[in-house]
């Protein structure tokens, strides 16, 4: 789970890392009051959205009075912010951060994350702060420096110093930079984060290093023992159908296409999506009902698929292994009875008790079209699209 900027800063601040004074608000009036309370000449109004490219899209605005703060909040709150990375629909701005404006002398990039290939934590730094690190890595790889972290000992001060000198920091900047990076590493470690990124870490006119923006990704799998982080749970801005799937324990991702698909297993689900595309359709979703999908999950999954107004046909692709086709078929038949399904269903069953499974679905009289292989299933589903009818 990704934290909103204000949540990430709260976590940094709690661990003693300086962040700008600020307040998160949800209404224009609150934004005006927050400006007054800041007692600053200039403030920055920042849309709290979990997508990159926010600044370029107008999601960050500088204001000089409470009235301006209110106006800026009015322009942002409740609106969809469309950025380079958000997709065409953008993301709804529910919260804004009203923050003191700082005079910035320099901008750095610092992050601690896990390098999955090496299976080690790594500190990544650059003197080219403010830009996307992927962009800097691509265009100026010589400006990005890494130190791998021995998990037993943690990031050592000498490693942070090495990075600071490689970045070419001035003498007076070395100690505060080392301190900031070591703090960030502790935050990463203590909270079991996937990513702790401060970008930019700015040097203000009085020489202090302050976290001006931050991205933190929590490892959901570690939440059971991270009680302080469980508090952050509710902020995610997810699609309503995805929220419904999550509640039902179904692995579902909403996409743009017109063919809904239900599959057992993540790899097979991705393969099914690719196949739909190869047959000339567009997958409406990723949906993995899981290896041990019971009737309740199948019902929930099918309900979600038919609730998507973009779905014109549903393809069910099941490989029955330990979980037999007949058991899955019973689940589908029962679910279909209680749902109002008005799109064609294409079913491809393979594996254990395939024949029994098909018989159960035929008996249920759901008007299902059965396909023999995955390819045929994809082609039949595509043939049902309105544009092909």
């Amino acid at each position: 789970m990704k934290l909103q900027e204000y949540q990430a800063k709260e976590l940094l601040n709690r661990a003693g890392m300086p962040v700008p004074d600020g307040e998160v608000v949800t209404t224009p009036d609150e934004a005006a009051m927050a400006f007054e309370r800041l007692d600053a000449e200039v403030a920055v109004i920042k849309a709290q959205v979990l997508t990159g490219g926010r600044g370029k899209a107008g999601g960050v605005q500088t204001v000089y009075s409470a009235d301006e703060a209110k106006e800026a909040a009015l322009r942002l709150l409740g609106k969809r912010l469309v950025t380079e990375q958000s997709g065409p629909d953008g993301v709804v701005v529910k919260n804004i951060l009203v923050e003191e404006g700082l005079t910035v002398e320099k901008e750095y990039y610092v992050a601690v994350t896990i390098d999955r290939e090496k299976a080690l934590p790594v500190a990544i730094v650059s003197a080219s702060g403010g830009m996307e690190i992927e962009e800097v890595s691509r265009t100026q790889p010589e400006k990005v420096f890494r130190e791998y972290i021995e998990p037993v000992f943690g990031l050592q001060p000498y490693q942070a110093r090495k990075l600071a000198y490689r970045m070419g920091l001035e003498h007076s900047e070395i100690a505060p930079f080392v301190d900031a990076l070591l703090k960030l590493h502790v935050i990463f470690l203590v909270n079991e984060l996937e990513l702790a990124e401060v970008n930019p870490l700015v040097k203000t006119e009085d020489g202090e290093l302050v976290a001006l923006d931050a991205k933190i990704t929590i490892d959901d799998n570690a939440l059971f023992r991270q009680e302080d982080l469980q508090f952050f749970q509710d902020s995610a801005d997810i699609d309503p159908l995805e929220a419904r799937a999550r509640a039902a324990g179904v692995n579902y991702i909403k996409l743009k296409g017109n063919i809904g698909c239900m599959v057992n297993g993540a790899g097979l689900a991705m393969a099914t999506m690719d196949l739909i595309k190869a047959c000339g359709g567009e997958p409406a979703n990723f949906l993995d009902v899981g290896g041990g999908a019971g009737k309740e999950k199948i019902r929930a999954a099918l309900g979600i698929l038919v609730a998507d107004p973009q779905v014109e046909a549903v393809l069910i692709n099941i490989f029955g292994g330990i979980l037999r086709c007949d058991v899955l078929a019973e689940g589908i038949a029962e679910a279909a009875k209680t749902l109002d399904i008005n799109v064609p269903l294409v079913v491809r069953l393979e594996g254990t008790n395939r024949e029994e499974g098909i018989e159960i679905l035929k008996q249920a009289g759901l008007g299902i079209t059965f396909a023999r292989g995955m390819r045929e299933a994809g082609e039949v589903a595509v043939s049902f699209l309105r544009s092909n009818a």
């Binding site: 990375q85 299976a119 799998n221 991705m270 196949l275 190869a278 290896g291 292994g321 393979e350």
Partner: protein
């Protein structure tokens, strides 16, 4: 002769008194795997699935001579279970458990560098040498003994491929589900090195998916001459959006890296036969192996 597991492999099940552990212990026994015991702390002395239960892996190894373990314990205890197995000198550790904290896996991987154990998984279906030994949760009956090695990050997609191979008359030497997590004990390249040395294996089918660099690393190994047998590959996730985890924790495109397209390009440039249609996996391998 297959790789990693064969007729002589003696297996214990960590978490055997749990629902999944007990269920799959029985299925493994039915397949003919020598399951010699199980471990659940506090349940030592009981019998479960027809085999003795021990309190610690050490006790289980002392009593049974087990050299492999398959782990079904819940995610919060899985790292401890893996470390315990390695400490007891178990040669092959297979972890089925999904949802292990990534920081735990960093520690486990580091610890495994200091002992001789091999870890398969986590978040994997395990491995099988058809007709000889199954250490995992895959449906055994779809497999046939033969000469194609299979490696996959995905469980059901591997079953699908095996089913097609068997239907096309192509048996398998060993099928290894390496797991869907970002940090795994054994990589595709590790498996290829094993298959290169295995006389029974004449070709390998690699089932990849988005995320990470493991397919690219495998391609580099082939290019560098570290794997010389015929090889086939299918990679899932061409239509997967950036920045979303596609079911598996490791299946995510981030910062433009880890796309199916780049993996297919890397594998193809190493001379590996790319299979584009997932329903043509068995047919393609069979046709190619018969004409060669």
């Amino acid at each position: 002769m297959s790789v990693l597991v064969d007729n002589n492999t003696r297996v214990i099940v960590q978490g055997i008194t749990g629902h999944e552990g007990g269920f799959h212990a029985k299925l493994m026994l039915e397949y003919g795997t020598e399951v010699v015991g199980g471990v659940t702390p506090g349940r030592g002395g009981e019998m479960h699935a027809g085999v003795p239960v021990f309190n610690t892996v050490e006790q289980a190894v002392d009593a049974t001579g087990a050299d492999a373990t398959v782990i079904f314990v819940p995610a919060q205890y899985a790292a401890d279970a893996m470390l315990e197995a390695a400490d007891a000198g178990i040669r092959l550790i297979v972890c089925i458990t999904e949802g292990i904290p990534v920081h735990d896996m960093v520690m486990v991987r580091r610890a495994f560098e200091f002992n001789g154990s091999r870890l398969i998984g986590p978040n994997c279906p395990g491995l099988i040498s058809p007709g000889a030994c199954k250490v995992g949760i895959m449906p055994g009956y779809i497999h046939r003994p033969g000469k194609v090695g299979l490696i996959s990050r995905s469980g059901t997609l591997a079953y699908e491929a095996v089913y097609q191979l068997t239907a096309a008359g192509i048996g398998q030497s060993t099928c290894i589900g390496i797991g869907g997590d970002p940090i795994l004990g054994t990589s595709f390249a590790d498996c290829l090195r094993l298959f290169e040395q295995d006389a029974q294996t004449e070709a390998v089918l690699l089932i990849g998916e988005i995320g990470g660099m493991m397919e690219e690393d495998a391609a580099r190994l082939v290019k560098d001459g570290g794997f010389t047998k015929p090889m086939f590959s299918y990679v899932a996730g061409l239509t997967a959006p950036e920045g979303r985890r596609m079911g598996h924790a490791g299946a995510i495109i981030s910062g433009g890296a880890g796309t199916a397209k780049s993996k297919i390009a890397a594998l193809s440039s190493a001379g590996i036969t790319i299979i584009k249609d997932p329903s043509a996996i068995g047919r393609t391998v069979a046709e190619k192996l018969k004409t060669d």
